[in-house]
Structures are given as C-alpha cells and as structure tokens.
C-alpha cells in the first residue's frame, strides 16, 4: 500500500513537469545568465557597469526566479489547467531538517570541490566544471530522481559534458560561463519545447471548458 501511495504521489508530482513549461522558462533564465556573464566579461570587472553587474547578481537572480515563477504559473493557468486540470502542491514539511542538512553538506562539498579543482588543476577553469557538476546534481537529484523522468537525466549529462569540455577550452571565465549557460539554455528550451509539443498534441483544448 505504501508503494501504491508513493506511485500516486510520484505521478502527481510528475504532473508539474508534464507540459515542459518550467523547462522553457528555465531555458530563458539560463539565456539571461549567459548574457549576464558574457556582458560582465566584455565590460570588465573594473568598469562601473561591470562592477554594478557583479554586485547585483544575487538581487538579479532572485528577481529573475520570482518573475520566472510568475510566468510559469500564468502560462500553466492558460495552457495546462484548462486541458488537464489544476493542482496546488503542498509545501512539503516532511524531513525538512534532513533536507536542510543535505543542502548544507552539498554546498560545503561543492565549495570544497571548487577550491580543490582550482588549486589542483591550474590548466582548467574550475568554476565552469563545478557549475556543470552543480547543475547536473540539481537536474539529477531534484528533478530526475524525484519525478523519475528520463529527460532530466539527459539534461544532467549535457551539463556535466558541457561543463567538462568548456573547463579545458581556454576561453576567459566570463565567456566560458556564458557559453555554458547558453548551451544549457538551448538544451532546456529544446527539452521543454518538445515536451510542450507532445503535451499539446495529446491534450487538445477541451470543447467544453470549466469544471463540474
């Protein structure tokens, strides 16, 4: 019975990803990040605008995530909910402490890995390699493992490979990171676009709208 409940729970969680909208908007966020790093490299950290860009990264990230979430919700309300129904997910309080500890340990491991990579291998750009690993972990663990959707494992493989290749490319760091995020943006947009195309084909807009 526990297995059946877990299956139902997984199916309901998977519903969030069934339309690919989250990936499409995520791809847009990655393109913005690509533009940010490329622009920062182009302007130089010493320039006034470059310095502003660097200082405002966290604020810009929070703003982009907030706006991205709003756009996803708006698109879902227009595209997904009339076709296959509306679900409000519960903020999961289960294992909250365990998840906090895991997040902390992951952060520490990533920081240690980046210091190690930067010191040990001077010939590679550790930042891009670590970003590739980090993004891969997010796709693999947070989305692939929880939803059991194969496409997230492919995305995590793309992240690992592009992070690895770019780390030895010899480009300046800003362009390297920009290129990494641009590649991931393309991968996400492709994955989300194909998923949305399939979703729309399988779920045409119902002639009779609304609920019982």
């Amino acid at each position: 019975m526990k297995d059946e409940t877990s299956q139902i729970e997984r199916r309901v969680n998977r519903y969030w990803y069934s339309d690919g909208i989250g990936e499409l908007i995520g791809g847009g966020v990655f393109f913005l990040l690509a533009a940010y790093f490329a622009l920062q490299q182009f302007l130089g950290e010493q320039s006034f605008v470059g310095g502003l860009l660097q200082a405002g990264l966290i604020l810009a990230l929070i703003g982009v995530m907030y706006i991205g979430r709003r756009v996803v919700n708006t698109l879902k309300a227009r595209i997904t909910y009339p076709r296959t129904g509306y679900v409000e997910y519960r903020a999961d309080a289960r294992n909250a402490n365990l998840r906090r500890v895991l997040a902390l340990l992951t952060g520490m491991a990533v920081a240690a890995l980046s210091v190690f990579v930067a010191n040990r291998f001077n010939m590679i750009d550790g930042m891009v390699a670590v970003t590739g690993v980090l993004v891969a972990i997010i796709f693999m663990v947070k989305q692939g493992w929880i939803s059991r959707l194969g496409r997230f494992f492919y995305l995590s493989a793309v992240s690992l490979v592009s992070g690895g290749i770019l780390s030895v490319s010899g480009f300046p760091r800003g362009y390297n990171l920009g290129l990494f995020y641009a590649l991931m943006g393309v991968a996400l947009a492709l994955s989300g676009g194909l998923t949305l195309k399939n979703y729309l084909r399988e779920n045409p807009f119902p002639a009779e709208t609304g609920n019982e």
Binding site: M1, T5, R11, Y81, T84, G85, E88, R90, N211, E212
Partner: protein, 102 residues
C-alpha cells in the same frame, strides 16, 4: 478468527471503496486539486466522480469549493484534517490486517 483479524469489520467503508480510496489518496498528496484533474487521474465519469465526492464531502472528509478562475467555473477539492485522519487510520488497519494474514 483472532480479535486483530476481526478488526477488518471496523474498516471505514466510506474510504474502503476503491474509487473513494483513490480520490482520498490523490488529495492526500496535494494541497488541493480541481475536478478535471481528479477525473483524469481516476478515470471516473463526471457523474461517478461527482457522486463519490459528495459522499466524501458529506462525511466531512473532503471540502469542495466552487469558484471561478476568470470566467471558467472551477471546482477545487481538498482533503480535510478529518479526511486525512480517516485515511491514515484506514491505512494502518489495512497494514495490520495484511501483516497478520501474511
């Protein structure tokens, strides 16, 4: 038959019915879901789902709210605290029964 096994007679029959058990289980995994989502997930007809939801609502296990999203009518269902308790108790009883009968 042991006293433990006789406990099967005390199962909450309102939850025990497969369609209602499925509805309650789906609602237990989310904060709320609308009629269309429940219909797709359970594969029940509109009439059937409506009837089962009414029974669950009468028992106080499910709260049904009819609202509008823009111009579209929206029926949002939510498992109440009483419903969650009943589902948890049902699961425990079933688990105990399955353990005893191997």
């Amino acid at each position: 038959m042991s006293e433990d096994l006789r406990g099967i007679n005390d199962l909450d029959r309102l939850i025990h019915e497969p369609a209602r058990l499925l509805i309650a289980t789906i609602l237990s995994t989310v904060s709320s879901a609308d009629f269309l989502f429940l219909q797709r997930e359970t594969n029940l007809t509109k009439g059937n789902l409506s009837a089962h939801l009414s029974k669950l609502e009468e028992a106080g296990y499910v709260k049904v709210e009819k609202t509008f999203k823009g111009k579209l009518p929206l029926t949002v269902c939510k498992l109440t605290a009483k419903g969650q308790k009943a589902l948890a108790a049902y699961r425990q009883q079933m688990r105990m029964f399955m353990d005893k009968t191997g």
